[in-house]
Amino acid sequence: MSKLKQLFRTFFLVDLLEGLWVTFRNQHPKHIYTEQYPSERPQVAERYRGAPRLNNNPENNETLCISCNLCAIACPENLIVVGWERNPETKRKDLIQFTYDVSRCMFCGLCEDACPVDALELTQDFELASYTREGQVWDRQMLEEGPYPVKYKS
């Protein structure tokens, strides 16, 4: 770049104007990316790993979980506790309780991968805040029903 041109650019603040032109172009409404959360909730991906859910069989509403404990073994943080009792009639394990400590979970998906019957699933719910630490330890009922996010009016 010649000296003269450089001087011209410096004097007339060309670099500033170039930059301003970029910002000006980006002001067009079609470039608006801001999401209006929480009145508009974003649609997260299908594979999103969010709040855990314990699935029920849609036909008879019985739990799909076979109490195999594989998820608890697979979890690096050791936060799943599966409680079961052997049913004397069917000789199968009946699920008694299932706790899941969401506060320690890192949503890695290893438990979901380990589950042989797709009973445990990480869903698209992502609003997991609660006011207490105890509220983060989810029991079986909570896992089956899912969290209740507050609905805000827009």
């Binding site: 410096t10 170039e18 970029v22 690096p76």
Partner: protein
């Protein structure tokens, strides 16, 4: 000596920068010894974010440890995961199938772009240009969306598994990457329009924080810093892994080794990453995504050091196996840690305000420095 005398005589001032300083990108504390505005000595105090990742590694099985490595350099979690998976695969004698390798390359390059974009935005913010942050975040969002669609998480992805991939590609993955590549190049020109000619940007960065090639080697500095100093050191070329030898790309280098050169290098690296992405996305082979890996992963007794070119530099894993389920020793060689060590050298004679620019162009992530 009266107090007034000492006050006037002493030309040195010790200034404490951080740990909660916005421009240290996390919890880094730098103690500066100043002579007026000039820095005559620096000392880094680190460890505020130490979580004992190496100890955790010794207490988890190989499979279980994989999500933890994402949490070291959380800006480029995919590169971390790739390094870890490659290290365990080397140790256990597994090779990921070609399809998995190509997908790994695509995701890692996307992550490199995301990491450089975040760097660009925050660094520009440090130096006084606020606008680029919004734009780079917007483009980074596209990458994170691809990650989210692919594996269900945006930041700490846990995208790879030992021996390949857990998830198949989703429909429209290729198109999304193609669109992103297209868009990225035009946006990159836009950033350059904003910054490269901008006199404040140029004056703040040129000649600041110079480190030459010899010093890079002396201090163990790798990554864009070393390339800015003129050494074409990139493990993707030097010791290709995961099929990088199939792609056609260049290693950008500069000569001065100052902050401005590092900026130019990173911008050029984004372009090269787009180049790799465009080649890779056209030739994703078909086939399985997972190699046959034992359910109970117990590598034979031995040790291996495997490193990858993370966005910040050479990221290495040194794993010692004693033949059991758990790694016997899990050592991570973090690039940021060693790059940060050179800060003292780079800050010699700089002004206080330049220290911010230097820390910025180091591109450190404290999660990785402290582990």
């Amino acid at each position: 000596m009266s107090t007034a005398e000492t006050f006037l005589d002493s030309s040195e001032l010790v200034l404490n920068m951080g740990p909660q300083h916005p421009s240290t990108h996390g919890v880094l504390r730098v103690i500066l010894k100043l002579d007026g505005e000039k820095v005559i000595g620096t000392e880094c105090v680190i460890g505020y974010l130490h979580r004992g990742v190496e100890k955790i590694g010794e207490n988890r099985t190989y499979v279980m440890f994989a999500p933890y490595v994402d949490r070291m350099d959380y800006i480029s979690a995919v590169s971390n995961g790739l390094g870890y998976c490659l290290a365990v695969e080397q140790l256990g004698g597994y090779v990921a199938p070609p399809r998995a390798q190509t997908v790994r390359v695509i995701l890692t390059e996307l992550n490199r772009i995301a990491s450089h974009l975040l760097w660009l935005g925050t660094h520009a913010l440090d130096v006084g240009a606020i606008t680029p942050l919004f734009y780079t975040m917007r483009e980074r969002e596209e990458v994170l969306k691809i990650f989210e669609n692919y594996c269900g998480a945006r930041l700490t992805t846990h995208a790879f598994r030992i021996g390949g991939l857990q998830y198949e590609l989703y429909d429209g993955f290729e198109d999304q990457v193609r669109v992103f590549c297209e868009r990225m190049l035009t946006k990159l020109d836009e950033y350059e329009e904003l910054l490269t000619g901008n006199r404040i940007w140029v004056n703040r960065l040129t000649g600041v924080g110079i480190i030459n090639a010899a010093d890079c080697k002396r201090y163990g500095v790798t990554g864009p810093l070393m390339r800015a100093a003129g050494v074409a050191a990139d493990l993707r070329k030097l010791q290709p892994y995961s099929g990088y030898e199939q792609y056609d790309f260049d290693i950008p280098t500069r000569v001065n080794g100052d902050s401005f050169d590092r900026y130019v290098i990173r911008m050029e690296e984004i372009r090269q990453s787009v180049r790799i992405l465009r080649q890779a996305v056209e030739r994703i082979p078909t086939g399985p995504v997972m190699a046959k890996v034992a359910k109970v992963l117990k590598p034979a007794i031995g040790e291996a050091y495997v490193s990858v070119e993370a966005p910040k530099g050479e990221l290495g894993y040194f794993i010692v196996s004693d033949g059991s389920l758990h790694p016997y020793r899990m050592r991570v060689r973090p690039p940021s840690f060693l790059n940060l060590q050179a800060l003292t050298e780079m800050c010699k004679g700089a002004l206080v305000a330049d220290v911010v620019a230097i820390i910025g162009t180091l591109d450190i992530v404290l999660g990785e420095v402290d582990r």
